[in-house]
Amino acid sequence: MSTTTIPSNQAVLSALLRADFITQWRNRKSVVLILLIPVIILIAWQGMVYKFGGPFVLSNCITIGLNAIGLMGYSNAIARDRDKGIFQRLRVAPLTAWPIMASRLMVQLAMILLVTTAVFIAGHYVDKVTLSPAGYAMGFAMAFVGGAVYLSLGQAIVGLIKNAETVNAVTRLVYFIFIMVGMFAELGALGKTIGDAVKWSPYGTVKHILSAGMQPATWNQHSSIALLVTIGYAITFASVGIKWFRWSSK
């Protein structure tokens, strides 16, 4: 038996990260779209800042951005690469599965950071919304927690559906439903029953923890329960996504 050297996890992750960030950069049109939608809504909702408060508007916009990252960006990229056999090609190299997914997730974490920062900057300059340093810090922290829900939901969808085109169609539908029902229910346009249901949906809990996080003084028991429910959603979706995920679509 020959002496064989296995590359370190750090070297493997570094190579994967470089390639995944280049891939994301080359797909910058979709990145711009993911950034633009929440910023456009933020500009369109300028009048609501005075009615509902800055954190309400910012949290809605960030939630919409997180939705787009998890459902439109992450899940479709995974489905496409699985369909093309890119994962199978990587898996015949001397590396375990976790660096492949960790690299993909780290790129999405960077996207969450980017969307949240863009919304905070646009909120500051367009809507004149300024938060306390603790509010910004908690806002970023809650964005990562909320982002985990939509990334794991995207993972669950690619776990349950093998065909890339079907994944694309389903994620668009789920994205559209979340945004439309979520936003209108938040504004009280869909009645109390749907409003209450949305409050505890992945849209409502993420939006709530973001909003409460941005004004830490208002964090209450409801916020803590919403945070726990959000984490529960992330764990549930991730469990489904990991259990049913197949590296090949064949």
Partner: protein
């Protein structure tokens, strides 16, 4: 040409792969030596891809032992894969990445230090020095196969799996690929080749095995198989050129029926 050494770089013993009640591979055994091109031939659905997937560690066989460069694929998967270079059928690299970036990615995940000079040498060796910045999807079929082959070889593995590497290539590209395979053999790499081209198997393989319905039905050198079966009535009945070829032996042994 260098003759195969006695070092076995791939050993497959008693391999069984089932999909539910369907037996895709049944009790398959063979080996590949260093400095040898071994062809695994079979009709569609015969069990070639399942056998390759088991060697690559992409599926868990129900029974059997596979060792690559002495490492058991099940017990030491990373060590086995570190000694394995793979060229898969499909073009499976991120289409957004350039040729140079793909080479850098796979060098990185194999722990191969790649200087700019070394990268340039590699690109020159596959005649793609002017295409370093081209996206993989912009390359011709032959160029894609050359990139795919160099990726399979980037870590200098003892065993290389080539899964129908010449499918869709023009005669010039195919001949060039054959020369590259022979050069790899001369450098003491063991090669496991699957192909539907009997001409290719006859031209480059030192030994072949014909697999059908999940079982290896014959295994030997191409010429020995032709000699052994030239009087077989089934083989004679399918002969078209007045002399027995490997393709005649293949069809005679596996039947005329078209497989899905």
């Amino acid at each position: 040409m260098q003759h195969p050494s006695d070092t076995i770089v791939l050993s497959v013993e008693g391999l069984h792969v089932n999909y539910g009640s369907f037996h895709a591979v049944s009790n398959v055994s063979f080996f590949v030596k260093a400095g040898e091109i071994f062809g695994l031939l079979g009709p569609n659905g015969a069990g070639k891809t399942s056998t390759l997937s088991a060697i690559e560690g992409l599926l868990q066989p129900q029974a059997g032992t596979i060792t690559v460069a002495g490492y058991n694929v099940k017990e030491n998967p990373l060590h086995a894969r570190a000694n394995l270079g793979v060229q898969l059928q499909a073009t499976n690299f991120q289409p957004e990445l350039s040729v140079a970036e793909i080479i850098q990615l796979y060098a990185g995940i194999h722990g191969v230090a790649l200087t700019k000079e070394r990268l340039q040498e590699i690109l020159i060796s596959i005649k793609l020095e002017d295409a370093a910045k081209k996206r993989f999807g912009q390359l011709s079929g032959g160029q894609q196969q050359r990139v795919s082959l160099i990726i399979a070889m980037i870590h200098n593995p003892q065993l290389v799996l080539l899964d129908e590497p010449t499918t869709g290539l023009d005669p010039q590209s195919r001949r060039q690929l054959w020369e590259r395979m022979e050069a790899m053999r001369d450098n003491n790499h063991g090669i496991l080749l699957t192909t539907h081209s009997m001409e290719e198997a006859e031209a480059v393989c030192d030994r072949i095995a014909i697999i059908d319905h999940g079982r290896i039905i014959v295994s030997d050198t191409p010429q020995t198989l032709i000699d052994q079966h030239r009087d077989n009535p089934e083989v004679i009945s399918v002969s078209r050129r007045g002399k027995i070829t490997l393709e005649d032996v293949f069809i005679g042994l596996t039947g005329r029926t078209v497989r899905s």
